[in-house]
Point group: C2
Chain length 307, copies 2
């Protein structure tokens, strides 16, 4: 008795997906209509609210189209797509974890940022009075289901604004591999970092290089990209795949806290019991720069450990 | 040829440790001297820079006492204690991961906030011109070793300011167990949450209630406290131990993403393969309110799953 009346987002495939900011369109950029918005590539679909698919979601439009949306400014509880009648804005069917909904869940797992665009129809405290406005990058921090106002199952996504902290370049010492221009926004660095991380995770099919665990969630597999030589001052490790490992959260924690280290032969050592426990899983497609492992050994081990 | 000339922080034991803000002393509170500061309990030791021990660190003073400190305002790279000559401010010996240093590492693992007090001797851009000033709560996000300016091993701790986001109470619906007054600061809620979490982790000796894994780092064991019914709008789960599980990071992720659920008999189910996999590890000292598990089943499972 119903059809999915609302057009679903049609986006180009995985290869073309762009996470993070679109050059030339900083937060606050405005667009007269959906044509102008799509032309900017800030949000590519002409009608859909979510630009995304199984590989992730890159942008959403919040414009009052769904009765269950909640907009708190820096935090948005966003209703997934599907089952909505655009004429009445009411739900007429259950939503599923597919298409753009799956994309938002995937972006949560990958930690990729989502561009948020607000339209004039949205919450009056946070929306432009006319047209559309790009309001910056958000992270998807949770997703769950609920019975919406109209009695149908909806998917809900909590998005939180990414805070940009711009530190003075006091220590100098840019990373050896990739000197970062001060002009280049932190926001771009963040998006780039997520892209490298996703690349490494895909090369290992989201399988931990230490324990071979592959965590699978209803939205797909999950792993973490661990910087061997940490990013940021004073370490200034580079954001390159040679400095990344694909790990499960447990081994990421153990590595970062110095409970584990990797020797120059790629063996993983347990510093608590001071024994080699396993060989790091390696693939030719993802070479490691062992000098970063050496840095980690020097900087993260405690008094009584081999280094 | 050297002694540890600088007095180490002497604090009361675990039972008296207070994480989070001290009532009556909001960020920006000033103190004429260390006596006044200690009297306020914002930082209790009269001389030590770190108030902490094996169970955690509650506060630090940044006042230029260590040549390797770096203060970026919202981010501080703080030198651990020990091996420092207070007359010259130079390092004269290696530092160890003990006492206050271990406390800061422990606070990182537990996610407990650390009060940061700046003194007039610190970085000129970020310090008061006289006396001491409480500058709010920070999190310890990393710790590692380095060879300091003076050629000795130092421990370094990265602390980042906790951002306080105060959302309008749009949805209403306070948690059933513990209605939260709007006047009560978010900052206090945060500290309270960490205290409950630590309590639950200790009751299970930091062992995952699903897989029995106990992750051990050089600073001690690590586990995560997982809210069964999530905190925050729109779930409004209460911050009580009956709503918490002690999990390893891997199972925390799987639970939060709906890859696992817990039935009313305490059996853990894998929603990907739709099978019961194990019984939740329980202890009489930590009863669970199963209605929260029911909420999680209803809200976090995907289309094709038993609920």
């Amino acid at each position: 008795m119903f059809t999915f009346l609302r057009p679903i987002a049609y986006c180009a495939g995985m290869a073309e997906r762009t996470y993070g900011e679109i050059p030339g369109y900083p937060p606050g950029s405005t667009f007269a209509n959906r044509n102008a918005l799509a032309g900017s590539k800030v949000h590519r679909p002409l009608q859909g609210g979510i630009c995304g698919g199984a590989d992730g979601a890159e942008s959403i439009v919040v414009s009052g189209g769904y009765v269950d949306d909640e907009d708190y400014g820096n935090e948005i509880v966003y209703t997934g797509q599907g089952g909505n009648d655009p004429r009445t804005k009411r739900q007429v069917a259950d939503q599923k974890l597919t298409l753009g909904n799956l994309g938002l869940a995937r972006s949560r797992l990958d930690g990729n940022p989502v561009r948020v665009i607000r339209g004039a129809g949205g919450d009056k405290d946070h929306s432009p009075t006319a047209g559309f406005r790009y309001d910056g990058l958000f992270r998807v921090v949770d997703h769950w289901t609920a019975t919406g106002t109209d009695g149908f199952k909806i998917w809900r996504f909590r998005l939180v604004a990414i805070e940009i902290r711009d530190l003075p370049e006091k220590l100098g010492q840019p990373a050896a591999h990739e000197p970062v221009s001060r002009v280049e926004a932190t926001i771009q660095r963040l998006a780039r970092s997520a892209a490298r991380a996703t690349e490494v995770k895909r090369l290992h099919d989201y399988t931990c290089q230490i324990c071979n665990t592959r965590l699978v969630t209803p939205a797909g597999p999950y792993a973490e990209a661990c910087h061997i030589k940490p990013l940021g001052k004073p370490h200034n490790g580079p954001d390159v795949t040679e400095n990344l490992l694909c790990l499960c959260p447990n081994h990421h924690l153990l590595f970062d806290t110095g409970a584990l280290y990797i020797d120059s032969d790629g063996r993983v050592h347990d510093t608590i019991n001071n024994t080699a426990i396993v060989d790091l899983q390696l693939t030719d497609k993802h070479p490691i720069d062992w000098s970063f492992a050496e840095y980690h050994r020097q900087s993260h081990l405690t008094d009584n450990e081999t280094s």
